[in-house]
């Protein structure tokens, strides 16, 4: 961290607890109070441009390079787009295998985010020196737990690698379905592993609710609270869905509109700003323009776990549903406190583990018909899934 007193700008660069490259510039006024702050995404990715001219079916193997932490989501979103473009119909088992891989990927990501990226601020404390307020500090404070976290994440990653060949930069999703069927013995082993990860997810939820969050509940409800809309995917019953469904765009007052993914340009648009390579999607359909004014944001919605928890009527699995009810009783709907993202993330972790087990228990998951015949052709296709940190 470098501090420049004369210019009254505090630059924090690089940001370390994120994926990718970014910095924050905090501008201070004459009294030393924060006047403005901006997040700069510093790298131009360019995927939109350099995939031009490539065979469409190659895209899922190219865009999975966008992110090493959540490659499955890029892989599957592009697979869905190409399916749509070619008019391919994915057989039920192919769809379920894709969803299973994505769901396991969500489960392990929650562990990573909560323990590696977020926990230091809560476990070591927000006032601790940043030299110890990090994942190594967490590991030293509770080595037994840290070891368990690494083991559980490893187990989930290895489930993906063992079945789908690669845990990162996956290739197993193919146009028209999934590249391989699941055998009975794969399923048995994965069920046992997933049960263990679910047990740990439930432990983590309880641990967080009893030992991590309580001292900070007041801070959570006052620090960085902004009033925005939310976006997330729900199924036909309004239940949260990570893989497929319609998009629900909710305003800060809780009213919402549902729309089909294919029609997204009627509802959302992107704003380009001069100070960041990141583009800023906003809700065009609200007809209020785009403003990042913290007191009166316009067109601003948030995505990611708190958004998904807010837009969903319910969860399809019992333990996650119980957690959602408890959360909603305490924080309302929609919950706006930014730090509640951590809580929402753990609810999603419980859901992901339960849902993966549901998928594995579905007899259809071992159906060998995983991929349909595909005829390449020109077309338009939009693909969308819920990624751990965005739609």
């Amino acid at each position: 961290m470098t501090t420049s007193v004369n210019s009254k700008i505090i630059n924090i660069a690089p940001l370390t607890r994120i994926e990718g490259h970014a910095s924050i510039a905090i501008k201070l006024d004459d009294d030393g109070n924060v006047a403005d702050s901006k997040v700069h995404f510093q790298s131009l990715r360019g995927f939109e441009k350099f995939v031009e001219g490539k065979p469409a079916e190659e895209l899922p193997r190219i865009v999975n390079r966008i992110c090493g932490i959540c490659p499955w989501h890029h892989h599957l979103a592009s697979n869905k787009a190409v399916d749509r473009c070619f008019g391919a119909t994915v057989p039920p088992a192919g769809r379920k295998l894709r969803e299973l891989m994505q769901t396991i990927s969500h489960a392990e990501d929650k562990l990573l985010h909560f323990f590696f990226l977020a926990a230091a601020d809560f476990v070591i404390g927000p006032d601790a020196d940043y030299a110890v307020r990090n994942v190594i500090g967490v590991a030293k404070a509770n080595p037994e737990l840290a070891q368990k976290v690494v083991q559980m994440r490893f187990k989930a990653k290895m489930m993906l690698e063992k079945f789908a060949g690669k845990a990162i930069h996956p290739v197993a999703g193919v146009t028209g379905g999934f590249a391989k069927p699941m055998l009975a013995e794969d399923r048995k082993q994965m069920l046992a592993d997933m049960q263990e990860i679910l047990d740990f997810a439930l432990y983590t939820m309880e641990f967080a609710k009893t030992q991590v969050f309580p001292p900070y509940l007041e801070t959570v409800q006052t620090l960085g609270v902004i009033q925005t809309g939310f976006l997330g995917t729900v199924d036909d019953d309004g239940a949260m869905n990570l893989y497929d469904g319609k998009l629900r765009l909710m305003k800060a007052d809780g009213s919402y509109t549902d729309f089909e993914v294919q029609d997204y340009t009627d509802y959302l648009a992107e704003q380009v700003v001069p100070w960041s390579y990141g583009k800023f999607p906003y809700a065009k359909s609200w007809n209020e323009g785009f403003s990042l004014d913290l007191d009166a944001p316009k067109g601003i919605y948030r995505s990611n776990c708190l958004a998904r928890i807010n837009v969903a009527e319910k969860m399809t699995t019992p333990k996650a549903q119980a957690e959602l009810e408890e959360f909603r009783e305490s924080f309302g709907r929609p919950a706006q406190a930014t730090l509640l993202y951590h809580w929402a993330r753990l609810i999603e972790m419980v859901y992901a583990c339960e849902h993966a087990i549901d998928l594995l228990n579905d007899p259809e998951i071992t159906d060998p018909d995983v991929r349909s015949e595909v005829v390449p052709g020109a077309g338009r296709g939009v693909g969308c899934v819920e990624a751990p940190r965005g739609t």
Binding site: G165, K166, V171, A172, K180
Partner: protein, 78 residues
């Protein structure tokens, strides 16, 4: 990718990762001849099988066989 890589990405005796997922290998990670030229090897393989490179729907991706491995050096001081 016999003409270009000498084994799969897991090394000899290990099923390459994409093959394990029943997806065709495209030779992205396998070990290559240290003194070889991957791109030339690939073009030779296409030519000797009667495949005209101009007929490929997209050939830019063959640039992944760039021979850049020859620029890699062991770290200094071990």
């Amino acid at each position: 990718m016999g003409p270009v890589t000498r084994a799969g990405c897991g090394g000899e005796g290990v099923t390459p990762r994409c093959i394990a997922a029943r997806v065709p290998c495209r030779g992205c990670y396998g070990p290559v001849r240290q003194t070889g030229n991957q791109r030339l090897d690939m073009l030779n393989a296409l030519a000797s099988n009667g495949i005209d490179i101009q007929s490929l729907p997209e050939s830019t991706s063959l640039l992944r066989f760039s021979g850049a491995h020859q620029l890699l050096r062991p770290p200094q001081g071990g």
